[in-house]
Symmetry: C2
Subunit: 154 residues, 2 copies
């Protein structure tokens, strides 16, 4: 039996979204044109210093409406069972969501962003700068997603 | 006072790395040429189905050696204090690490990857497919990092 100790996290903020529930949220962040407010709790505001210089940030959050998971899942893209870790399903052992969003502006401890697919009330866990030299890779094989998402982008 | 309830996570695996401690680890994932083994606990192995079709995956892990944090930090890139959330410092309120890595091969429940800057024994939290159409953004302002990381890439 593996050592499955618990790790504890406390949210650093809360996400206010035009999507009030999971039914309203888009499948993936890049399909969301909605404007969201990321409220960073006041005690962490200093950590946002100069963030307005960045056009894009990585937002990590808690899928708070996710309950349980299956290791094989169907997605909106086809009718085949895929390994959970080859999908972006919100139903995961560690229900961590990740979206790269456009940072439109900042008002004190609130970031106004575009493209965040998290729903209203989502607990915010972390914000990181999006850095192409670090976060992008150029030689890509997309597995079962090949031809599905790429097509949509062009 | 904000609602700062605790969220609990259980690791889904463990990372075996050539970097035995934080002093040996590179600053950022893309500077790492080291080969790491991501051991996904057996109970989650089914969730890896067909992952070998993907050349790149997003690895989310726990900075287990991180203790405390400061909201303003200096980085290896310059001598100026920056807002924590504009840096990739491992010392964060929620100590979540995120690296896009190249998936070289899979042996049952173990993924062999290149470019993972996590150190030996790091708890694994999640694996997601890296999808350029979802995870890449083309109009980028890099704030205080402008000219620093980009230069290195070209």
């Amino acid at each position: 039996m593996e050592d499955r100790y618990s790790l504890k996290l406390k949210p650093i903020g809360i996400i206010h979204s035009p999507y009030k529930n999971t039914g309203e949220a888009p499948y993936q962040g890049d399909k969301s044109e909605g404007i969201s407010q990321i409220e960073v709790f006041k005690e962490f505001e200093e950590g946002l210093k100069d963030i307005e210089g960045f056009s894009h940030i990585i937002v990590i959050y808690w899928f708070h409406e996710s309950q349980g998971y299956h290791l094989l899942v169907k997605t909106p893209w086809d009718d085949i069972l895929h390994g959970l870790f080859t999908t972006r399903s919100p139903h995961r052992p560690c229900p961590l969501g990740l979206t790269v969003v456009e940072l439109l502006s900042r008002e004190k401890n609130v970031l106004i962003v575009k493209g965040l697919d998290a729903i209203e009330g989502t607990p915010l866990l972390d914000i990181k700068p999006y850095i192409p030299g670090v976060d992008e890779r150029s030689i890509i094989k997309l597995g079962w997603l090949e031809g599905k998402l790429r097509k949509e982008r062009s």
